[in-house]
Symmetry: C2
Subunit: 326 residues, 2 copies
């Protein structure tokens, strides 16, 4: 295939920079989900670690590679998971971390960022406003801007999930990956296309935040108006051209799902797999729910990428009051 | 120390008999739990596998060692987790599995046992009645009776958790272990007393099912009347003498906790760690809640041993309606 920006040898090397607490995460069949989904389903679980998302893989690489002779400070924009992970990785290495987030970000995520000792800078507006502000802080203070999905460390950190999938004993047909900025999708996709090219790489995004999917379909950057989704972790409007180029090389498909399907996915994962997941982590299950025929008889792996969710909202979305689960 | 029935070399060998999907489970700090618990808390998570409890470690050993020339059939009594794990391990090896359970066992567990293809034999009465019935079936049919905690494979399978704890990078002071029949406690306790004797091994049982704890305290088998606890996984009345002997050698303490503390523990694990656990798996957190002073400033590991729970009950126990979580 044409070359992405990622490098499989460098991804293997990245594993050695990452605290083992983020590596070799559970990968297992969830048969209890299968009657409802009509296919074999395995979960790659990225929530059972100190920051409850896969983002620690990338921030461990970023902070490990920060030059020792430069300023020991970083800044990022985040919907919450990258910020939490960067705060965790930075704390362990004596790096000062500033996280810029939207004032409307998930409260549970903001609380953990603060608790981990990062400076939290809240902006009015959405994630794109936070990205602008983070860039301004980086210029002003001369510190490293960590740009999710653009910075190769964030992609190659996430790509270590792909190594673990490629080396798994049980064969599978399809991997379902939440698509936001693209670090996870290009990372996992790159490795699978290199090491297990027969696996279908299917990216999933909410209909209410479709920028990257529309860009992938149109083979050019498409920006959108305001997003409208509960899947806060993937709600961007302005795809990064270099990331889109990579995604075009590694994704076999990109699909959009409805909010109701995301909620149904969260509920299924709770009721039949005992997993508390954030909306972005239910996108894969949502995609199967919306197109059972497509996946019938196949073995899909869904990457459960994060579990940072406001529990009151989670209870509302998944509660028995919704007429399910009893 | 005096010798238990367990053997550390055999436990190391057991690891090679167990499907890797049950091994090297997540072990990580849950800082979000710590303000409420007043100590450093790590979780050893045994729920992210195909049977959602640690019991697969033991049943993999049992079924691997079943003589090839004898009947390929086993029977066990189970509150649900052992039965589910035995059904899973047996299915993969062409072994016919019969599980005897109380009619009042957790519905989610019984459903999974059936789904995994085991024959399910329901009895009136409690777990002790199921044990008698399973023994009778074994005699009648001439098949292997798998007796949880008595059969050394169940203890040594569970003991592989101890190996993983002993080899963990971060030092800890105390391990909190749910105490039922004793396989988990004697298994983990044996390994830690051999390889990390400085770690306090604290067993936790519900006040409503205190037989093994009373036996440990009295240094002789104490049986009790009917149990009264939501922690179905540890609700026995008749401790096994050989298991008690082992427990006396490896446990530093055995404590009893109230039902309200178990519920509070489940709620904390849900709200602050995003974990859906069955009541037995919240016993460790319950023990800290009941005696914060004892654990203050220490680093405790709690083994989250299972996640098979009726979700309606779980919602009732952990719901916002209980005045928590908002």
């Amino acid at each position: 295939m044409q070359q992405t920006r990622l490098d499989t040898d460098r991804i293997r090397a990245a594993r050695r920079l990452i605290d083992p607490v983020f590596l070799d995460t559970p990968l297992y069949r969830c048969e209890a989900l299968e009657p409802e989904l009509g296919c074999a389903v395995s979960v790659k679980l990225e929530t059972a670690n100190p920051v409850r998302s896969f983002k620690g893989r990338g921030t461990e690489v970023v902070t490990s590679l920060l030059p020792g002779d430069g300023p020991r400070a970083v800044v990022c924009a985040s919907a919450g998971n990258l910020g939490q992970a960067l705060a965790w990785s930075g704390r362990g290495r004596g790096i000062e971390v500033t996280v810029v987030a939207s004032r409307s970000a998930t409260a549970a995520k903001l609380e953990r960022i603060r608790a981990l000792g990062a400076r939290l800078d809240l902006v009015d507006g959405d994630h794109e406003a936070a990205r602008e502000r983070a860039a301004a802080i980086a210029r002003r203070d001369g510190v490293r801007l960590v740009e999710d999905s653009l910075d190769i460390e964030t992609c190659e950190g996430a790509a270590t999930i792909g190594l673990e999938l490629a080396e798994s004993a049980a064969p599978f047909d399809t991997v379902l990956i939440a698509l936001g900025g693209g670090a996870l999708a290009t990372g996992v996709g790159h490795v699978l296309k290199s090491l297990a090219p027969e696996v279908d790489v299917v990216c999933v995004q909410p209909l209410g935040a479709p920028a990257m999917t529309l860009s992938w379909r149109g083979r050019r950057v498409v920006t959108t108006g305001p997003t409208d989704t509960i899947a806060d972790g993937v709600a961007g409007r302005c795809p990064i051209p270099a990331v889109l180029d990579d995604l075009l090389l590694v994704a076999d498909d990109a699909v959009l799902v409805r909010e109701a399907s995301i909620v149904a996915g969260m509920r299924l994962l709770l009721d039949h797999a005992g997993l508390v997941v954030e909306p972005s982590a239910a996108l894969g299950v949502a995609a199967v729910l919306e197109d059972r025929e497509r996946f019938a008889g196949r073995h899909v792996v869904t990457v459960v990428c994060g579990g940072n969710v406001d529990m009151d909202a989670h209870r509302r979305w998944t509660g028995a009051a919704a007429g399910h689960g009893s």
